[in-house]
C-alpha cells in the first residue's frame, strides 16, 4: 500500500532521515519505534506531505532550507511531490504529534472541521463510531477542546483523523504524555479500529512496551536510519530492544 524508498531529508545541513526504506501492506498495523531525535516526526510529516508545506514556508523566509530525496509510492502512484491536501483526498491522514486540536471550538465542531471532505451523514456516522471507541468523549461533546485533558485531547485528535475516513492512518506519538492506563486505552482503541474498519495504521512511538505486542510489524529507527525490523513478537524478544527500550 505504502512503499518508501531511500528517503533522505535535510534540514539545512542536518540530515534528519538517511536513506530510509519501509513498506506498509493493506490492513496492517505497523510501528516505527525510535527514541527522541530518531526522525519519527520527520518521517510522518514526509509521508503526510506536511513537509512540502514547511519547505515552501522556509523558502519564503529565505533560501532553500529543506531538501527531500527518495520516493514515496502510495497505491502504485508516486506521491513524493503531491501537496498534503491532495494526499488527504487520496486517503493518507495524519494525527500530528502533541495532539493539536482547535482549542476554541467544541468537540463536535472539531469533528466537523476535520471532516470537511465528508458529507454530514458520514461525519455523524464516524462520530458515533469514535464515541463507541472512546466512551469518555461522549460526555464532553459540547466542551471547548482547549479545556479537555491531555488524554481526552489525544482521543479527540485520533477521532478527528478518523472522521476523514482514511485508508492509511498515520499516528505520530499517540501515547505521548499519557499515563500507562490511558496508553493502554488508546492502544486498545487503535487495535479495535484496525479490526473493525480495516484502516491501515502506521504509528510512530518511543514507548515500545505497550506498542510492540499489538503491531503486525515494526521498524526501529535511530538517527534517521533503519536499524532493525521484524514482527512485533520478534522485536519483543530481541535483546537489543529490551536493553534500549524496555530498560531491563
Amino acid at each position: 500500500m505504502l512503499e518508501i524508498e531511500n528517503l533522505m531529508v535535510f534540514f539545512e545541513n542536518a540530515l534528519a532521515l538517511n536513506g530510509l526504506s519501509l513498506g506498509v501492506r493493506t490492513g496492517e498495523i505497523v510501528g516505527v519505534i525510535g527514541s527522541n531525535s530518531a526522525g519519527k516526526t520527520t518521517l510522518m510529516n514526509t509521508i503526510s506531505g506536511l513537509i512540502i508545506d514547511m519547505r515552501i514556508k522556509e523558502k519564503r523566509k529565505g533560501g532553500e532550507r529543506i531538501t527531500i530525496y527518495g520516493n514515496i509510492t502510495y497505491d502504485g502512484e508516486d506521491i513524493t511531490e503531491t501537496p498534503p491536501s491532495d494526499r488527504v483526498k487520496q486517503g493518507i491522514v495524519l494525527s500530528r504529534e502533541r495532539h493539536p486540536v482547535f482549542p476554541e471550538s467544541s468537540v463536535v465542531e472539531n469533528f466537523k472541521i476535520a471532516g470537511y471532505l465528508r458529507s454530514k451523514s458520514e461525519i455523524q456516522e464516524t462520530m458515533d463510531f469514535v464515541f463507541t471507541l472512546f466512551p469518555p468523549l461522549t460526555k464532553l461533546k459540547t466542551r471547548k477542546a482547549g479545556f479537555l485533558s491531555g488524554g481526552e485531547q489525544q482521543m479527540l485528535a485520533i477521532g478527528m483523523a478518523l472522521v476523514v475516513r482514511p485508508k492509511l492512518l498515520l499516528l505520530d506519538e499517540p501515547l505521548l504524555g499519557l499515563s500507562p492506563m490511558m496508553q493502554k486505552a488508546v492502544v486498545d482503541a487503535i487495535v479495535s479500529l484496525n479490526r473493525e474498519t480495516n484502516i491501515t495504521v502506521l504509528l510512530s512511538e518511543q514507548f515500545a512496551r505497550p506498542v510492540l505486542p499489538v503491531v503486525d510489524r515494526a521498524y526501529v529507527v535511530e538517527n534517521g536510519m533503519l536499524t532493525l525490523s521484524g514482527t512485533g513478537a520478534e522485536l519483543m524478544d530481541n535483546p537489543e530492544i529490551k536493553a534500549a527500550y524496555f530498560g531491563v
Binding site: 531511500n6 533522505m8 535535510f10 539545512e12 545541513n13 536513506g19 519564503r60 523566509k61 529565505g62 533560501g63 532553500e64 532550507r65 531538501t67 530525496y69
Partner: protein, 334 residues
Amino acid sequence: MKKRKERIDRGIKARSSDIFALLSWREMLYLAAPRLLPVIVCLLLPLLLGPYWQKVLLSVAVVALLAISWDILAQTGMVSLGQALFFGVGAYCSGAMNHYWGLSPVLTIPIASLLGGLICTLILLPVLRLRGIYFSMVTLIIPLILVRIVEATKIFGGTEGLSGMTPLPSTWFELYLSMAVLLAVLFGFRRMMDSDYGLVLKGINDNDRSVINAGINIYWFKAQSLFIAGAIGAFCGAFMTHVYMFVGMPVFALDYSILPIAAAVVGGPGTLAGATLGAFILVPMSEALRGFGGLRIVLYGVFLVVFIVALPEGIFHYIQRKYHQIERWVEVDK
C-alpha cells in the same frame, strides 16, 4: 547525481563572531564595514544633498526613528498601529512648553521626549494585558480620539494649532541632530536588544507564559518597552514641531502610523537596522514618484506588494544572509 544546496557560514564570519581571531585588514573591514557604512552615509548625506532633498532626509530620519520604535514594540509582542500617538504627544508637549512657557528647544525636545514617553505609557498601561489585534486596535483608536479632543475642546489652539515656535538654529543643526539621534538610537537599541534585557523582551513576544514562569513580571517589562518606544516617537514629534515651527492636529495623522510599519516590513522586522533601511528606501521613493501625479500612491502600493511577495523576509535579512553565509551545491552522499 543528486545534489542539494548547502548553506554554511563564511569562515571569516566564524572567526570574527566566535573566536575573534582577525588575521588581516580585510577581516577587520569585514567586521567593521556593516557598522561604518550607515555612519558614513548618515554623516555625508546632508553635505551631498540639495535643499529639497535635505528636507526629505529629515522625514527619512523621522520615519526611520518611528519604524525603530515600532520594531522595538513588535519585538516585545505588541503590534502597534498607532505610532502617530507617540509622535503627536511629543509634538504637543514640546509645542505647549515652547508656546506657553517660552522654553527653548534645547529644553523642550529632551523633556518632551521623556514626558511624551511617560504619557504614552500611562495612556496605554491599562491595555498592556491585551494581546495581538486587540492591542493594535486600541493603539489605532487613541490618536483618533486625541485629534477629536483637541478639535472639540479647543485646547492647544484647537483646529488652528500653535504656530510661531522657536526654530532650531540652522538647517545643518536640524540635519545633524536628526542623523546623530538616528545613529544613537539604531546602534544603542540594537545593542540593547542583543543584551540579556533585550532577551527578556524578545521572550515576551515568543512565549509570554514561559517568561512569567521564569519569575519575571512581563507587564513591567512591557511598560518599559512601551516607554522606550514612546520616547523615541515623542522625540520625532518634538523635533518636527521645531522644524515646522508649528504644531496642530495633523501630528496625529495616520501617515505617521502606517509609513513606519511599511518601512519595517520592507526592510525586515526584528533587526531595527531593517526598519532604518526600509525608511531610507521608501521615503525617497515616495518623493521620486511625485512626478506621476495621481498615480503616485498606486505605484507606491504596487511596489510595496511586489516587495512583500518577492522578498518576504525583508531586505536587511536577505543582505545579512548573503553577507554572512555562502550557498553551494553539494552532492548528496549515501
